[in-house]
Symmetry: C2
Subunit: 316 residues, 2 copies
Protein backbone atom coordinates (compact mmCIF):
# COMPACT_ATOMS: atom_id res chain seq x y z
CA UNK A 1 0.00 0.00 0.00
CA UNK A 2 1.53 3.29 -1.07
CA UNK A 3 0.41 6.31 0.92
CA UNK A 4 0.01 9.01 -1.71
CA UNK A 5 -0.61 12.60 -0.66
CA UNK A 6 -1.87 14.65 -3.61
CA UNK A 7 -1.89 18.44 -3.69
CA UNK A 8 -4.67 19.27 -6.08
CA UNK A 9 -7.14 21.93 -7.19
CA UNK A 10 -9.51 22.44 -10.10
CA UNK A 11 -10.63 19.99 -12.74
CA UNK A 12 -7.11 18.71 -13.52
CA UNK A 13 -6.56 18.03 -9.84
CA UNK A 14 -9.82 16.16 -9.54
CA UNK A 15 -8.99 14.00 -12.57
CA UNK A 16 -5.61 13.11 -11.10
CA UNK A 17 -7.27 12.28 -7.78
CA UNK A 18 -9.71 10.02 -9.60
CA UNK A 19 -6.78 8.26 -11.26
CA UNK A 20 -5.09 7.51 -7.95
CA UNK A 21 -8.39 6.56 -6.30
CA UNK A 22 -8.78 3.88 -8.98
CA UNK A 23 -5.47 2.19 -8.13
CA UNK A 24 -5.88 -0.74 -5.75
CA UNK A 25 -2.55 -0.34 -3.96
CA UNK A 26 -2.83 3.36 -3.20
CA UNK A 27 -4.00 4.87 0.09
CA UNK A 28 -4.97 8.32 -1.14
CA UNK A 29 -5.04 11.59 0.75
CA UNK A 30 -5.83 14.80 -1.09
CA UNK A 31 -4.97 18.29 0.10
CA UNK A 32 -7.34 20.57 -1.77
CA UNK A 33 -7.46 24.25 -2.57
CA UNK A 34 -9.74 26.60 -0.66
CA UNK A 35 -8.58 29.88 -2.21
CA UNK A 36 -11.36 29.81 -4.85
CA UNK A 37 -13.95 29.93 -2.06
CA UNK A 38 -16.44 32.74 -2.16
CA UNK A 39 -19.75 33.70 -0.59
CA UNK A 40 -22.74 33.75 -2.95
CA UNK A 41 -26.20 34.81 -1.76
CA UNK A 42 -25.00 34.42 1.81
CA UNK A 43 -23.82 30.84 1.26
CA UNK A 44 -20.23 29.66 1.41
CA UNK A 45 -19.16 28.01 -1.85
CA UNK A 46 -15.95 25.98 -2.24
CA UNK A 47 -15.68 25.31 -5.98
CA UNK A 48 -12.40 23.36 -5.97
CA UNK A 49 -13.33 21.24 -2.97
CA UNK A 50 -16.77 20.57 -4.45
CA UNK A 51 -15.31 19.55 -7.82
CA UNK A 52 -13.20 17.04 -5.90
CA UNK A 53 -16.20 15.80 -3.89
CA UNK A 54 -18.38 15.52 -6.97
CA UNK A 55 -15.67 13.79 -8.99
CA UNK A 56 -14.64 11.24 -6.38
CA UNK A 57 -18.25 10.36 -5.57
CA UNK A 58 -19.09 9.86 -9.25
CA UNK A 59 -21.72 12.60 -9.04
CA UNK A 60 -19.92 14.96 -11.39
CA UNK A 61 -21.39 16.14 -14.66
CA UNK A 62 -18.98 14.24 -16.92
CA UNK A 63 -19.63 16.34 -19.99
CA UNK A 64 -18.66 19.63 -18.42
CA UNK A 65 -16.19 18.30 -15.83
CA UNK A 66 -17.62 20.36 -13.00
CA UNK A 67 -20.96 20.60 -11.24
CA UNK A 68 -23.34 17.76 -10.59
CA UNK A 69 -25.12 15.47 -12.99
CA UNK A 70 -28.88 16.00 -13.27
CA UNK A 71 -28.78 19.54 -11.98
CA UNK A 72 -31.62 22.03 -11.94
CA UNK A 73 -31.76 25.79 -11.88
CA UNK A 74 -34.99 26.47 -10.02
CA UNK A 75 -33.33 28.05 -6.97
CA UNK A 76 -31.14 30.21 -9.20
CA UNK A 77 -34.14 31.27 -11.28
CA UNK A 78 -35.90 32.36 -8.10
CA UNK A 79 -32.87 34.39 -7.06
CA UNK A 80 -32.81 35.96 -10.52
CA UNK A 81 -36.51 36.83 -10.17
CA UNK A 82 -35.67 38.47 -6.85
CA UNK A 83 -33.12 40.74 -8.54
CA UNK A 84 -29.99 38.91 -7.44
CA UNK A 85 -26.88 38.86 -9.58
CA UNK A 86 -26.68 35.25 -10.74
CA UNK A 87 -23.73 35.04 -13.11
CA UNK A 88 -22.29 32.28 -10.92
CA UNK A 89 -24.10 29.10 -11.89
CA UNK A 90 -25.20 27.21 -8.81
CA UNK A 91 -27.46 24.24 -9.38
CA UNK A 92 -30.24 23.12 -7.07
CA UNK A 93 -28.22 20.16 -5.77
CA UNK A 94 -25.22 22.47 -5.40
CA UNK A 95 -27.38 24.75 -3.31
CA UNK A 96 -28.24 21.84 -1.03
CA UNK A 97 -24.53 21.31 -0.40
CA UNK A 98 -23.80 25.01 0.08
CA UNK A 99 -26.72 25.32 2.51
CA UNK A 100 -25.37 22.37 4.47
CA UNK A 101 -21.83 23.73 4.57
CA UNK A 102 -22.92 27.25 5.50
CA UNK A 103 -25.10 25.98 8.32
CA UNK A 104 -22.27 23.87 9.73
CA UNK A 105 -19.78 26.75 9.52
CA UNK A 106 -22.30 29.08 11.17
CA UNK A 107 -22.46 26.60 14.06
CA UNK A 108 -18.71 26.93 14.44
CA UNK A 109 -17.69 23.59 12.95
CA UNK A 110 -14.22 23.40 11.35
CA UNK A 111 -14.29 23.55 7.54
CA UNK A 112 -12.07 20.43 7.59
CA UNK A 113 -14.64 18.50 9.60
CA UNK A 114 -17.48 19.66 7.38
CA UNK A 115 -15.55 18.54 4.29
CA UNK A 116 -14.75 15.16 5.85
CA UNK A 117 -18.42 14.66 6.74
CA UNK A 118 -19.58 15.52 3.22
CA UNK A 119 -17.02 13.09 1.80
CA UNK A 120 -18.25 10.39 4.18
CA UNK A 121 -21.92 11.00 3.28
CA UNK A 122 -20.89 10.81 -0.40
CA UNK A 123 -19.17 7.46 0.20
CA UNK A 124 -15.71 8.72 -0.74
CA UNK A 125 -12.96 6.52 0.62
CA UNK A 126 -10.01 8.81 -0.11
CA UNK A 127 -9.31 11.41 2.58
CA UNK A 128 -10.01 14.96 1.39
CA UNK A 129 -8.17 17.46 3.57
CA UNK A 130 -8.06 21.22 3.64
CA UNK A 131 -4.65 22.86 3.83
CA UNK A 132 -6.11 25.38 6.30
CA UNK A 133 -9.33 26.05 8.16
CA UNK A 134 -8.68 29.76 7.85
CA UNK A 135 -9.99 31.89 5.05
CA UNK A 136 -7.65 32.32 2.07
CA UNK A 137 -9.04 33.97 -1.04
CA UNK A 138 -7.39 34.58 -4.38
CA UNK A 139 -7.78 38.04 -5.87
CA UNK A 140 -6.94 38.83 -9.48
CA UNK A 141 -5.78 42.22 -10.70
CA UNK A 142 -6.84 43.10 -14.24
CA UNK A 143 -6.84 46.37 -16.16
CA UNK A 144 -10.21 47.07 -14.54
CA UNK A 145 -8.88 46.53 -11.02
CA UNK A 146 -9.03 43.70 -8.51
CA UNK A 147 -11.58 40.93 -8.98
CA UNK A 148 -12.48 37.97 -6.81
CA UNK A 149 -11.31 34.73 -8.35
CA UNK A 150 -14.83 33.69 -9.39
CA UNK A 151 -15.51 37.11 -10.92
CA UNK A 152 -12.42 36.61 -13.06
CA UNK A 153 -12.95 32.91 -13.72
CA UNK A 154 -16.71 32.63 -14.17
CA UNK A 155 -18.15 36.09 -14.72
CA UNK A 156 -15.33 37.36 -16.98
CA UNK A 157 -14.59 33.86 -18.35
CA UNK A 158 -10.82 34.38 -17.85
CA UNK A 159 -10.85 36.98 -20.62
CA UNK A 160 -8.97 39.85 -18.88
CA UNK A 161 -5.19 39.74 -18.68
CA UNK A 162 -4.02 38.84 -15.20
CA UNK A 163 -1.58 41.50 -14.04
CA UNK A 164 -1.17 40.41 -10.45
CA UNK A 165 -2.41 37.73 -8.08
CA UNK A 166 -2.73 37.78 -4.33
CA UNK A 167 -4.15 35.33 -1.82
CA UNK A 168 -5.88 37.31 0.90
CA UNK A 169 -5.40 35.93 4.38
CA UNK A 170 -2.66 33.50 3.42
CA UNK A 171 0.07 34.93 5.64
CA UNK A 172 -2.01 34.42 8.76
CA UNK A 173 -3.53 31.11 7.73
CA UNK A 174 -2.60 28.12 9.84
CA UNK A 175 -1.88 24.76 8.25
CA UNK A 176 -4.28 22.05 9.50
CA UNK A 177 -2.88 19.25 11.63
CA UNK A 178 -4.34 16.77 9.15
CA UNK A 179 -2.41 18.34 6.25
CA UNK A 180 0.83 18.35 8.27
CA UNK A 181 0.37 14.66 9.07
CA UNK A 182 -0.52 13.76 5.50
CA UNK A 183 2.66 15.39 4.24
CA UNK A 184 4.92 13.93 6.95
CA UNK A 185 3.39 10.46 6.73
CA UNK A 186 3.30 10.09 2.93
CA UNK A 187 5.29 7.57 0.92
CA UNK A 188 4.83 9.75 -2.14
CA UNK A 189 3.77 13.35 -2.55
CA UNK A 190 2.25 14.35 -5.88
CA UNK A 191 1.52 17.82 -7.19
CA UNK A 192 -1.40 17.40 -9.54
CA UNK A 193 -1.61 18.90 -13.04
CA UNK A 194 -3.52 21.87 -11.63
CA UNK A 195 -3.04 25.56 -12.27
CA UNK A 196 0.26 26.28 -10.46
CA UNK A 197 -0.64 29.90 -9.73
CA UNK A 198 -4.20 29.69 -8.45
CA UNK A 199 -4.66 26.06 -7.43
CA UNK A 200 -1.29 24.97 -6.07
CA UNK A 201 0.43 28.16 -4.88
CA UNK A 202 -2.41 29.02 -2.45
CA UNK A 203 -1.72 25.64 -0.85
CA UNK A 204 2.07 25.93 -0.91
CA UNK A 205 2.16 29.47 0.47
CA UNK A 206 0.21 28.65 3.60
CA UNK A 207 2.82 29.02 6.35
CA UNK A 208 4.22 25.60 7.20
CA UNK A 209 3.26 23.76 4.01
CA UNK A 210 6.45 24.36 2.01
CA UNK A 211 8.75 23.54 4.96
CA UNK A 212 6.68 20.41 5.64
CA UNK A 213 7.07 19.32 2.01
CA UNK A 214 10.80 19.96 2.12
CA UNK A 215 11.15 18.08 5.41
CA UNK A 216 9.05 15.15 4.22
CA UNK A 217 10.79 11.83 3.63
CA UNK A 218 8.63 11.17 0.59
CA UNK A 219 9.78 12.29 -2.84
CA UNK A 220 7.70 15.02 -4.50
CA UNK A 221 6.56 14.30 -8.04
CA UNK A 222 4.88 17.01 -10.08
CA UNK A 223 2.70 16.44 -13.12
CA UNK A 224 2.68 19.16 -15.75
CA UNK A 225 -0.63 20.90 -16.42
CA UNK A 226 0.69 22.12 -19.78
CA UNK A 227 1.14 20.14 -22.99
CA UNK A 228 3.17 21.84 -25.71
CA UNK A 229 2.65 25.16 -23.97
CA UNK A 230 -1.11 24.82 -23.83
CA UNK A 231 -3.34 24.09 -20.89
CA UNK A 232 -5.94 21.33 -21.19
CA UNK A 233 -8.54 23.43 -19.40
CA UNK A 234 -8.49 26.84 -17.73
CA UNK A 235 -6.33 29.93 -17.95
CA UNK A 236 -2.97 28.67 -16.62
CA UNK A 237 -1.00 29.26 -19.83
CA UNK A 238 -2.41 32.73 -20.46
CA UNK A 239 -1.95 33.68 -16.82
CA UNK A 240 1.68 32.48 -16.74
CA UNK A 241 2.43 34.55 -19.82
CA UNK A 242 0.99 37.81 -18.50
CA UNK A 243 2.75 37.24 -15.18
CA UNK A 244 6.10 36.89 -16.94
CA UNK A 245 6.56 33.15 -16.61
CA UNK A 246 7.35 30.69 -19.39
CA UNK A 247 4.03 29.16 -20.36
CA UNK A 248 5.20 25.60 -20.79
CA UNK A 249 6.27 22.57 -18.77
CA UNK A 250 9.70 24.11 -18.19
CA UNK A 251 8.05 27.26 -16.83
CA UNK A 252 6.02 25.13 -14.42
CA UNK A 253 9.17 23.25 -13.34
CA UNK A 254 10.93 26.56 -12.76
CA UNK A 255 7.94 27.81 -10.79
CA UNK A 256 7.99 24.81 -8.42
CA UNK A 257 11.78 24.78 -8.36
CA UNK A 258 13.53 22.69 -5.73
CA UNK A 259 10.21 21.54 -4.28
CA UNK A 260 10.13 18.88 -6.99
CA UNK A 261 12.25 15.75 -7.14
CA UNK A 262 10.58 14.50 -10.31
CA UNK A 263 8.44 16.10 -12.98
CA UNK A 264 6.18 14.17 -15.30
CA UNK A 265 5.73 15.97 -18.61
CA UNK A 266 3.89 15.06 -21.74
CA UNK A 267 5.66 13.05 -24.44
CA UNK A 268 5.06 16.08 -26.67
CA UNK A 269 7.42 18.08 -24.44
CA UNK A 270 10.45 15.83 -24.69
CA UNK A 271 12.56 18.71 -25.97
CA UNK A 272 12.24 20.40 -22.55
CA UNK A 273 13.56 17.39 -20.60
CA UNK A 274 17.20 18.44 -20.60
CA UNK A 275 16.41 21.93 -19.32
CA UNK A 276 14.20 20.46 -16.58
CA UNK A 277 16.99 18.07 -15.61
CA UNK A 278 19.34 21.05 -15.47
CA UNK A 279 17.12 22.45 -12.67
CA UNK A 280 17.92 19.36 -10.61
CA UNK A 281 14.49 17.87 -11.27
CA UNK A 282 14.26 14.45 -12.88
CA UNK A 283 12.03 14.64 -15.97
CA UNK A 284 9.79 11.75 -16.99
CA UNK A 285 7.60 11.46 -20.01
CA UNK A 286 4.03 10.16 -20.13
CA UNK A 287 0.75 10.76 -21.89
CA UNK A 288 -0.67 13.32 -19.48
CA UNK A 289 -3.98 13.98 -21.22
CA UNK A 290 -6.82 12.44 -19.16
CA UNK A 291 -9.91 12.22 -21.38
CA UNK A 292 -11.39 9.23 -19.56
CA UNK A 293 -11.16 6.94 -16.55
CA UNK A 294 -8.63 4.66 -18.25
CA UNK A 295 -6.32 7.57 -19.02
CA UNK A 296 -6.61 8.89 -15.45
CA UNK A 297 -5.68 5.55 -13.90
CA UNK A 298 -2.89 5.04 -16.45
CA UNK A 299 -1.33 8.44 -15.65
CA UNK A 300 -1.61 7.73 -11.89
CA UNK A 301 0.05 4.37 -12.55
CA UNK A 302 2.82 6.10 -14.55
CA UNK A 303 3.46 8.49 -11.64
CA UNK A 304 3.53 5.54 -9.27
CA UNK A 305 6.01 3.79 -11.57
CA UNK A 306 8.33 6.82 -11.43
CA UNK A 307 8.19 6.57 -7.64
CA UNK A 308 8.79 2.81 -7.62
CA UNK A 309 11.72 3.08 -10.02
CA UNK A 310 13.30 5.82 -7.89
CA UNK A 311 12.85 3.67 -4.77
CA UNK A 312 14.37 0.65 -6.47
CA UNK A 313 17.28 2.78 -7.64
CA UNK A 314 17.99 4.27 -4.21
CA UNK A 315 17.75 0.79 -2.65
CA UNK A 316 20.22 -0.59 -5.19
CA UNK B 1 -61.89 52.89 -3.56
CA UNK B 2 -62.32 51.03 -0.27
CA UNK B 3 -59.18 50.67 1.78
CA UNK B 4 -59.39 47.12 3.13
CA UNK B 5 -56.92 45.93 5.76
CA UNK B 6 -57.00 42.14 6.03
CA UNK B 7 -55.54 40.19 8.93
CA UNK B 8 -54.69 36.82 7.46
CA UNK B 9 -52.59 33.69 7.84
CA UNK B 10 -52.46 30.26 6.25
CA UNK B 11 -54.19 28.98 3.16
CA UNK B 12 -57.63 30.38 4.13
CA UNK B 13 -56.10 33.79 4.64
CA UNK B 14 -54.37 33.68 1.29
CA UNK B 15 -57.60 32.70 -0.48
CA UNK B 16 -59.47 35.60 1.15
CA UNK B 17 -56.62 37.95 0.14
CA UNK B 18 -56.88 36.70 -3.42
CA UNK B 19 -60.61 37.42 -3.36
CA UNK B 20 -60.12 41.02 -2.29
CA UNK B 21 -57.19 41.48 -4.69
CA UNK B 22 -59.57 40.57 -7.53
CA UNK B 23 -62.04 43.35 -6.69
CA UNK B 24 -61.51 46.49 -8.76
CA UNK B 25 -62.60 48.99 -6.09
CA UNK B 26 -60.50 47.65 -3.24
CA UNK B 27 -57.12 49.01 -2.14
CA UNK B 28 -55.83 45.97 -0.28
CA UNK B 29 -53.36 45.80 2.59
CA UNK B 30 -52.65 42.48 4.26
CA UNK B 31 -51.19 42.02 7.72
CA UNK B 32 -49.74 38.52 7.69
CA UNK B 33 -48.70 36.04 10.35
CA UNK B 34 -45.05 35.47 11.18
CA UNK B 35 -45.51 33.10 14.12
CA UNK B 36 -45.15 30.01 11.90
CA UNK B 37 -41.64 31.11 10.99
CA UNK B 38 -38.84 28.69 11.66
CA UNK B 39 -35.21 28.15 10.74
CA UNK B 40 -34.50 25.13 8.55
CA UNK B 41 -30.95 24.19 7.53
CA UNK B 42 -29.81 27.64 8.64
CA UNK B 43 -32.37 29.42 6.44
CA UNK B 44 -35.26 31.50 7.70
CA UNK B 45 -38.58 30.20 6.42
CA UNK B 46 -41.86 32.15 6.69
CA UNK B 47 -44.55 29.66 5.59
CA UNK B 48 -47.60 31.90 6.05
CA UNK B 49 -46.00 34.92 4.42
CA UNK B 50 -44.73 32.76 1.56
CA UNK B 51 -48.15 31.20 0.97
CA UNK B 52 -49.47 34.75 0.67
CA UNK B 53 -46.65 35.77 -1.71
CA UNK B 54 -47.06 32.66 -3.83
CA UNK B 55 -50.85 32.99 -3.94
CA UNK B 56 -51.01 36.69 -4.81
CA UNK B 57 -48.33 36.35 -7.49
CA UNK B 58 -50.11 33.39 -9.08
CA UNK B 59 -47.07 31.20 -8.49
CA UNK B 60 -48.82 28.90 -6.03
CA UNK B 61 -49.28 25.21 -6.65
CA UNK B 62 -53.06 25.34 -7.11
CA UNK B 63 -53.61 21.64 -6.49
CA UNK B 64 -52.07 21.62 -3.02
CA UNK B 65 -52.79 25.26 -2.07
CA UNK B 66 -49.29 25.88 -0.76
CA UNK B 67 -45.80 25.83 -2.26
CA UNK B 68 -44.83 26.82 -5.76
CA UNK B 69 -45.92 25.38 -9.06
CA UNK B 70 -43.23 23.45 -10.97
CA UNK B 71 -41.17 22.74 -7.89
CA UNK B 72 -38.17 20.45 -7.64
CA UNK B 73 -36.57 18.59 -4.77
CA UNK B 74 -32.93 18.43 -5.81
CA UNK B 75 -31.68 20.68 -3.00
CA UNK B 76 -33.69 18.75 -0.43
CA UNK B 77 -32.43 15.43 -1.81
CA UNK B 78 -28.87 16.68 -1.39
CA UNK B 79 -29.57 17.68 2.20
CA UNK B 80 -31.07 14.24 2.80
CA UNK B 81 -27.93 12.64 1.33
CA UNK B 82 -25.91 14.75 3.76
CA UNK B 83 -27.81 13.30 6.71
CA UNK B 84 -30.06 16.28 7.38
CA UNK B 85 -33.55 15.83 8.77
CA UNK B 86 -35.78 16.79 5.85
CA UNK B 87 -39.34 16.19 6.99
CA UNK B 88 -40.12 19.82 6.13
CA UNK B 89 -40.64 19.92 2.37
CA UNK B 90 -38.79 22.83 0.85
CA UNK B 91 -38.70 22.96 -2.94
CA UNK B 92 -35.81 24.24 -5.02
CA UNK B 93 -37.61 27.48 -5.87
CA UNK B 94 -38.61 27.82 -2.20
CA UNK B 95 -34.95 27.48 -1.31
CA UNK B 96 -34.12 30.35 -3.66
CA UNK B 97 -36.56 32.53 -1.73
CA UNK B 98 -35.34 31.37 1.69
CA UNK B 99 -31.73 31.97 0.65
CA UNK B 100 -32.65 35.49 -0.46
CA UNK B 101 -34.56 36.28 2.74
CA UNK B 102 -31.86 34.85 5.01
CA UNK B 103 -29.15 36.81 3.27
CA UNK B 104 -31.12 40.06 3.58
CA UNK B 105 -31.86 39.44 7.27
CA UNK B 106 -28.21 38.60 7.90
CA UNK B 107 -27.34 42.01 6.44
CA UNK B 108 -29.61 43.60 9.01
CA UNK B 109 -32.53 44.48 6.72
CA UNK B 110 -35.97 44.66 8.33
CA UNK B 111 -38.16 41.60 7.68
CA UNK B 112 -40.90 44.04 6.59
CA UNK B 113 -38.66 45.55 3.93
CA UNK B 114 -37.53 42.14 2.71
CA UNK B 115 -41.17 41.04 2.40
CA UNK B 116 -42.10 44.23 0.54
CA UNK B 117 -39.19 43.74 -1.86
CA UNK B 118 -40.15 40.13 -2.57
CA UNK B 119 -43.75 41.21 -3.20
CA UNK B 120 -42.50 43.91 -5.57
CA UNK B 121 -40.24 41.49 -7.47
CA UNK B 122 -43.22 39.13 -7.71
CA UNK B 123 -45.37 41.89 -9.19
CA UNK B 124 -47.87 41.89 -6.32
CA UNK B 125 -49.86 45.12 -6.12
CA UNK B 126 -51.48 44.56 -2.71
CA UNK B 127 -49.36 45.65 0.25
CA UNK B 128 -48.19 42.71 2.36
CA UNK B 129 -47.19 43.88 5.83
CA UNK B 130 -45.76 42.12 8.83
CA UNK B 131 -47.39 42.79 12.19
CA UNK B 132 -43.94 42.91 13.76
CA UNK B 133 -40.29 42.79 12.71
CA UNK B 134 -39.49 40.96 15.90
CA UNK B 135 -39.42 37.22 16.26
CA UNK B 136 -42.65 35.60 17.42
CA UNK B 137 -42.89 31.81 17.27
CA UNK B 138 -45.81 29.56 18.08
CA UNK B 139 -45.07 26.54 20.24
CA UNK B 140 -47.49 23.68 20.66
CA UNK B 141 -47.72 21.50 23.76
CA UNK B 142 -48.74 17.90 23.12
CA UNK B 143 -48.60 14.80 25.29
CA UNK B 144 -45.00 14.42 24.13
CA UNK B 145 -44.03 17.93 25.21
CA UNK B 146 -43.54 21.22 23.40
CA UNK B 147 -43.11 21.22 19.62
CA UNK B 148 -42.35 24.03 17.21
CA UNK B 149 -45.35 24.87 15.09
CA UNK B 150 -43.91 23.20 11.98
CA UNK B 151 -43.01 20.08 13.91
CA UNK B 152 -46.65 19.84 14.97
CA UNK B 153 -48.10 20.95 11.65
CA UNK B 154 -45.84 19.28 9.09
CA UNK B 155 -43.82 16.58 10.82
CA UNK B 156 -46.65 15.29 13.05
CA UNK B 157 -49.36 16.24 10.50
CA UNK B 158 -51.48 17.84 13.26
CA UNK B 159 -52.12 14.38 14.72
CA UNK B 160 -51.29 15.06 18.41
CA UNK B 161 -53.84 16.73 20.63
CA UNK B 162 -52.94 20.35 21.31
CA UNK B 163 -52.94 20.89 25.07
CA UNK B 164 -51.52 24.38 25.14
CA UNK B 165 -50.26 27.07 22.79
CA UNK B 166 -47.80 29.84 23.36
CA UNK B 167 -46.26 32.45 21.09
CA UNK B 168 -42.65 32.92 22.13
CA UNK B 169 -41.45 36.50 22.00
CA UNK B 170 -44.90 38.01 21.58
CA UNK B 171 -44.92 40.10 24.76
CA UNK B 172 -41.80 41.97 23.70
CA UNK B 173 -42.65 42.19 20.01
CA UNK B 174 -43.22 45.68 18.67
CA UNK B 175 -45.98 46.38 16.16
CA UNK B 176 -44.60 47.75 12.88
CA UNK B 177 -45.41 51.33 11.94
CA UNK B 178 -46.84 50.05 8.65
CA UNK B 179 -49.30 47.77 10.47
CA UNK B 180 -50.37 50.59 12.81
CA UNK B 181 -51.01 52.87 9.82
CA UNK B 182 -52.85 50.17 7.89
CA UNK B 183 -55.22 49.65 10.83
CA UNK B 184 -55.74 53.34 11.58
CA UNK B 185 -56.15 54.27 7.92
CA UNK B 186 -58.49 51.48 6.83
CA UNK B 187 -62.08 51.94 5.69
CA UNK B 188 -62.73 48.31 6.51
CA UNK B 189 -60.83 45.78 8.58
CA UNK B 190 -61.36 42.11 7.81
CA UNK B 191 -60.26 39.11 9.83
CA UNK B 192 -59.78 36.34 7.29
CA UNK B 193 -61.14 32.79 7.67
CA UNK B 194 -57.80 31.67 9.10
CA UNK B 195 -57.08 29.56 12.15
CA UNK B 196 -58.04 31.89 15.02
CA UNK B 197 -55.55 30.32 17.44
CA UNK B 198 -52.38 30.04 15.41
CA UNK B 199 -52.86 32.44 12.49
CA UNK B 200 -54.84 35.36 13.93
CA UNK B 201 -54.09 35.38 17.65
CA UNK B 202 -50.31 35.73 17.11
CA UNK B 203 -51.17 38.91 15.18
CA UNK B 204 -53.75 40.21 17.68
CA UNK B 205 -51.60 39.56 20.75
CA UNK B 206 -48.68 41.65 19.56
CA UNK B 207 -48.73 44.61 21.93
CA UNK B 208 -50.53 47.51 20.27
CA UNK B 209 -52.49 45.57 17.65
CA UNK B 210 -55.69 44.95 19.65
CA UNK B 211 -55.84 48.54 20.95
CA UNK B 212 -55.21 49.80 17.40
CA UNK B 213 -58.09 47.66 16.09
CA UNK B 214 -60.38 48.89 18.84
CA UNK B 215 -59.39 52.52 18.23
CA UNK B 216 -59.78 52.21 14.46
CA UNK B 217 -62.64 54.07 12.82
CA UNK B 218 -63.22 51.20 10.42
CA UNK B 219 -65.63 48.42 11.31
CA UNK B 220 -64.09 44.98 11.86
CA UNK B 221 -65.69 42.13 9.94
CA UNK B 222 -64.66 38.56 10.65
CA UNK B 223 -65.17 35.63 8.30
CA UNK B 224 -65.67 32.23 9.92
CA UNK B 225 -63.06 29.56 9.14
CA UNK B 226 -65.52 26.86 10.24
CA UNK B 227 -68.52 25.52 8.36
CA UNK B 228 -70.91 23.37 10.38
CA UNK B 229 -68.20 22.87 12.99
CA UNK B 230 -65.62 21.68 10.48
CA UNK B 231 -62.58 23.45 9.15
CA UNK B 232 -62.02 23.57 5.38
CA UNK B 233 -58.31 22.90 5.81
CA UNK B 234 -56.03 22.56 8.81
CA UNK B 235 -56.46 21.67 12.47
CA UNK B 236 -58.51 24.65 13.76
CA UNK B 237 -61.58 22.64 14.77
CA UNK B 238 -59.62 19.90 16.52
CA UNK B 239 -57.38 22.46 18.23
CA UNK B 240 -60.35 24.50 19.47
CA UNK B 241 -61.91 21.36 20.95
CA UNK B 242 -58.83 20.22 22.88
CA UNK B 243 -58.30 23.78 24.12
CA UNK B 244 -61.83 23.90 25.52
CA UNK B 245 -63.44 26.18 22.95
CA UNK B 246 -66.61 25.53 20.99
CA UNK B 247 -65.45 24.25 17.60
CA UNK B 248 -67.94 26.12 15.46
CA UNK B 249 -68.67 29.60 14.14
CA UNK B 250 -70.11 30.61 17.50
CA UNK B 251 -66.91 29.50 19.22
CA UNK B 252 -64.88 31.63 16.80
CA UNK B 253 -67.18 34.62 17.45
CA UNK B 254 -66.77 34.13 21.19
CA UNK B 255 -63.01 33.88 20.74
CA UNK B 256 -62.79 37.22 18.90
CA UNK B 257 -65.45 38.77 21.18
CA UNK B 258 -65.90 42.52 21.09
CA UNK B 259 -63.17 42.93 18.49
CA UNK B 260 -65.76 42.08 15.84
CA UNK B 261 -68.56 44.33 14.66
CA UNK B 262 -69.78 41.83 12.07
CA UNK B 263 -69.23 38.14 11.51
CA UNK B 264 -69.79 36.41 8.21
CA UNK B 265 -70.76 32.77 8.71
CA UNK B 266 -71.72 30.07 6.28
CA UNK B 267 -75.32 29.64 5.27
CA UNK B 268 -75.09 26.17 6.84
CA UNK B 269 -74.59 27.85 10.23
CA UNK B 270 -77.76 29.95 10.24
CA UNK B 271 -78.87 28.36 13.51
CA UNK B 272 -75.94 30.06 15.31
CA UNK B 273 -76.90 33.57 14.12
CA UNK B 274 -79.02 34.45 17.14
CA UNK B 275 -76.33 33.44 19.61
CA UNK B 276 -73.71 35.44 17.67
CA UNK B 277 -76.03 38.45 17.66
CA UNK B 278 -76.42 38.01 21.43
CA UNK B 279 -72.63 38.63 21.72
CA UNK B 280 -73.17 42.08 20.20
CA UNK B 281 -71.75 40.93 16.86
CA UNK B 282 -73.93 41.30 13.76
CA UNK B 283 -74.13 37.94 11.97
CA UNK B 284 -74.30 37.70 8.16
CA UNK B 285 -74.65 34.62 6.06
CA UNK B 286 -72.75 33.79 2.90
CA UNK B 287 -71.28 30.84 1.05
CA UNK B 288 -67.82 30.91 2.65
CA UNK B 289 -66.29 27.94 0.83
CA UNK B 290 -63.67 29.19 -1.68
CA UNK B 291 -62.91 26.38 -4.11
CA UNK B 292 -61.97 28.68 -7.00
CA UNK B 293 -61.24 32.26 -8.05
CA UNK B 294 -64.89 33.04 -8.63
CA UNK B 295 -65.85 31.91 -5.13
CA UNK B 296 -62.99 33.92 -3.58
CA UNK B 297 -64.03 37.14 -5.32
CA UNK B 298 -67.68 36.49 -4.53
CA UNK B 299 -66.98 36.05 -0.81
CA UNK B 300 -64.84 39.20 -0.80
CA UNK B 301 -67.71 41.00 -2.54
CA UNK B 302 -70.14 39.65 0.08
CA UNK B 303 -67.92 41.00 2.88
CA UNK B 304 -67.71 44.33 1.09
CA UNK B 305 -71.51 44.35 0.77
CA UNK B 306 -71.87 43.89 4.54
CA UNK B 307 -69.60 46.89 5.00
CA UNK B 308 -71.48 48.99 2.44
CA UNK B 309 -74.86 48.14 3.94
CA UNK B 310 -73.62 49.06 7.42
CA UNK B 311 -72.28 52.35 6.08
CA UNK B 312 -75.53 53.16 4.33
CA UNK B 313 -77.44 52.32 7.50
CA UNK B 314 -75.29 54.53 9.74
CA UNK B 315 -75.57 57.37 7.19
CA UNK B 316 -79.33 57.06 7.12
Amino acid sequence: MTRVTLLAGGVGGAKMAEGFAALPDVDLTIIGNVADDEEFHGLWVSPDIDTMLYTLSGRINREQGWGLADEGRRALDMLTDLGEDTWMFLGDRDFGLHIYRTQRLKRGDRPSDVTADIARHFGITARLLLPTDDRVQTRVRTLDGWLTFQEYFVRERCAPDVLELRHDGINNARMTGEAAEAIAGADLIVIAPSNPLVSIRPILDIPGIRPALQAAQAPVIGVSPLIAGKVVKGPADKMMTTLGLRADALGVAEFYGNLLDHFVIDTADGTLAAQIAALGIAPHMADILMPDATAKARLAQDVLAVFQAAQAESAA
